[in-house]
Point group: C2
Chain length 155, copies 2
């Protein structure tokens, strides 16, 4: 129920060849409040409702609750979400037993590629592949809820 | 997925003796936006997450999506909800095959008692028991999300 995550920019597209899976993902928000965001996500034949709480000071950990829901329900819920949707390809890459989820954003956020690594605890060491760039953990501009309101192509 | 509901004030406490069930209910909101409210409700050993969309002009029907969740999860979610909680006893009363759900509010809303009848369609005729008072369907002040922000004892 507590998500610990580090986030990085991505320097080149080498991650694409290394990915063992790639999934088209669409998501939008019922609420983008930083203390209680509510996200609807559809990834091909699966869908989820996800609630995230406030970030800690460093933006490293957050309360997270998630439950799967029917895709048909998620499609109806997407229609009443706040205006703006996030569309992206999510690539799954393993590097020395660590899963990196690489988001290649589409639409108004095209050009942006971000990699996330979920950790077991705050102090866990993390080995980085050479296509990983600058760390942006805790930078609110890269939150998906922020990208919906101020898309990357408008930066 | 479309909820059609009429709401009434309650004139006296006769409904209590007629109820076949009574359940302590606590609820709070992750979002109170009228176009996409998100409610967490715990009723004894059960809990739900409920999303409601915009009301029609008369306040009679609304998009509604609901899913059961674990009570332990609901307790954690309640902690990050918007400040303010609704506490009430909900009584279930049958009158000529129509279920009336009667909410006796507690805490900051004590003194308020409201009955709701869910209908199959907008034009369905509804027989009213004699303890039912003024209709308040569509009156936003009686929405639970409103009562949380402006409780009845402050009216």
């Amino acid at each position: 129920m507590r998500e610990i995550e580090r986030k990085f920019l991505v320097k080149n597209s080498r991650y694409k060849a290394l990915a063992f899976e790639k999934k088209y993902t669409i998501q939008a928000y019922l609420n983008t409040h930083p203390e209680r965001s509510v996200r609807i996500r559809i990834q091909e034949q699966k869908a989820w409702i996800t609630v995230k709480g406030k970030s800690d000071e460093k933006g490293l950990s957050r309360f997270e609750w998630e439950q799967t829901i029917a895709v048909a329900d998620a499609e109806k819920l997407l229609k009443i979400c706040e205006p703006g949707k996030i569309e992206k390809y999510r690539y799954y890459v393993k590097f020395i037993n660590q899963l990196f989820e690489v988001d290649e954003f589409l639409g108004e956020n095209s050009g942006l590629v971000v990699a996330e690594a979920e950790l077991e605890n705050i102090n866990q060491p993390l080995a980085l592949p050479d296509w990983i760039g600058e760390e942006v953990t805790g930078n609110k501009a890269y939150y998906n809820a922020s990208l919906m309101k101020l898309p990357y192509t408008n930066w």
